[in-house]
């Protein structure tokens, strides 16, 4: 069984594609038991960094290293949740939740699965197919699948990006609450989400990547927290200046 203690991860190096340097001198410290945010304009290569950490094929080369503090491999204890929920269209919600177990050919406890489905509030929908669900319900199913994987490291690639604002609020609370104790790397272009959820914030830019001030725990901050708005504003300014 994999270690269930969340590690911290450090990425140091430069990232380049065939034609250009994406990030010249990147230093990311993703700490255990908290959310770390990668903030940056669309198309800057945020998802590419997630793919590097997840050990997925990319179009870039990393000169440097990705290490965990426990010196164990990283890519085999990562789960991944994207803006596109990646639900398998021909499988029910229930079957989608245990997809990982099925692909690994391992037994799992049906009670545990039901508990997770209940936690994300999809008990009444567990026999439905993805196309019968709303956007919010689909994202809940994707969250349930991530929870079922129960890996110590979770990579989130704009998982709230396609949701309407009410659904998004619910999803943010539910996701944050249910991923407690894990090492979470959260990619977003929304400074508001970053300010509310993340204890470490990095602003990615072509020239330089900067570690930014973040708010003090506890997290998550409420929607209307005044401090969130102040930080959000300054983050937005920095994203803009980093882009040019």
């Amino acid at each position: 069984m994999m270690s269930s203690i969340s590690p911290s991860i450090e990425l140091i190096g430069s990232v380049r594609s065939e034609s250009e340097v994406l990030f010249g001198d990147l230093r990311l410290a993703v700490r255990a038991n908290q959310w770390t945010c990668l903030l940056g304009a669309s198309g800057i290569g945020k998802s590419t960094i997630l793919r590097l950490i997840a050990g997925l094929p990319t179009h870039v080369k990393l000169d440097g290293s990705i290490k965990s503090n426990d010196h164990l491999p990283i890519s085999n204890r990562v789960s991944y949740m994207a803006q596109n929920d990646l639900l398998i269209p021909w499988a029910t919600v229930s079957a989608n939740v245990s997809l990982g177990n099925k692909l690994r050919g391992e037994k799992f406890s049906p009670e545990k699965k039901l508990k997770i489905i209940e936690k994300v509030g999809l008990m009444d929908h567990k026999k439905k197919y993805p196309f019968q669900l709303s956007g919010g319900q689909r994202q809940r199913a994707a969250l349930a699948r991530t929870l079922m994987e129960n890996t110590p490291i979770v990579l989130l690639d704009e998982p709230f990006g396609s949701l309407d604002s009410n659904t998004r609020e619910e999803m943010i609370d539910l996701t944050f609450e249910s991923l407690k104790g894990k090492t979470v790397l959260f990619v977003t272009h929304d400074p508001h989400e970053a300010a509310r959820l993340c204890e470490s914030i990095y602003i990615l830019g072509r020239q330089k990547t900067t570690s930014n001030r973040s708010l003090k725990p506890p997290f998550p901050k409420t929607y209307s927290d005044k401090l969130v708005f102040d930080l959000q504003y300054s983050l937005l300014e920095k994203i803009k200046s980093n882009r040019s």
Binding site: Y80, L86, L99, K102, R104
Partner: protein
């Protein structure tokens, strides 16, 4: 239901204009018989047509079954083994550049006048569409699913079983439907070239004896059988695989 009414009306009007044309132009009946005389020929020879139809149906069903199975096995082999892909794909495409019609006499020479040469003919004609459709579906499984499977540490075999094969079912179904239309063509070509039974044989026979009305009757029988086969197979695929097809 509406579609059926349209089809029936279309055919009725075709028959009407055909009858009209024959009556106006008045060609000799061995050139173009009237729809009515075709109907009469069908009724008079119904036993004969029935017996020959059974032969063709058997050839088509055996050929279809074996051809689909062989096509699926080939597609899976192409997907699993990179070397097989490199060797087999050019070979498959080359084999498609030879018209099956040209091989028919050879098959008769090698396999005789019996049912076997026709079954092989049907297999040859449907093998490539099935292989190609199924392999397209397998190899076009969205990368995002395979990436997800990778983070889940799925094995290649299970990825194939639980992601690639289910994803390719719609393309496989189009391949099978296409095959159900092609298989009768294969069987009939085989019968033309050399046989003593089957609808293809009956057509050649009727043609040789200037029984054009019987020729038409056999032709329509073949058409109706083909359409029925296509409809039946489409329906069976639809009800048995609906969860893979609707999404």
């Amino acid at each position: 239901m509406k579609a059926i009414i349209y089809i029936v009306c279309t055919f009725l009007s075709i028959f009407f204009f055909w009858e009209l044309a024959v009556r106006l132009a008045n060609p000799p009946p061995y050139i173009l018989p009237t729809p009515y005389s075709v109907l009469v020929a069908f009724k008079e020879n119904s036993q004969l047509i029935y017996e020959h139809s059974i032969v063709t149906i058997v050839e088509v069903l055996i050929g279809l079954t074996i051809g689909i199975i062989l096509g699926m096995i080939t597609a899976l082999t192409l997907e699993i083994f990179v070397t097989a892909r490199l060797i087999l794909r050019p070979l498959l495409i080359f084999s498609q550049s030879i018209p099956v019609f040209a091989i028919a006499p050879l098959l008769t020479l090698w396999l005789g006048y019996g049912i076997l040469s026709k079954v092989v003919m049907a297999i040859l004609i449907i093998y490539f569409p099935v292989t190609s459709a199924f392999h397209d579906g397998l190899s076009q499984t969205p990368k995002r699913y395979l990436d997800l499977a990778k983070t889940m540490r799925g094995t290649n075999r299970r990825n194939l079983l639980y992601l690639k094969i289910p994803h390719s079912i719609p393309s496989l179904c189009s391949g099978i439907k296409l095959a159900s239309v092609y298989a009768p063509i294969g069987a009939v070509i085989g019968e033309w070239v050399g046989s003593s039974q089957g609808l293809g044989y009956l057509m050649i026979l009727a043609n040789g004896r200037v029984k054009t009305d019987l020729m038409f009757a056999s032709l329509f029988t073949l058409g109706i059988l083909s359409i029925t086969l296509f409809g039946l197979i489409s329906y069976l695929l639809q009800i048995s695989l609906s969860k893979y097809l609707k999404a």
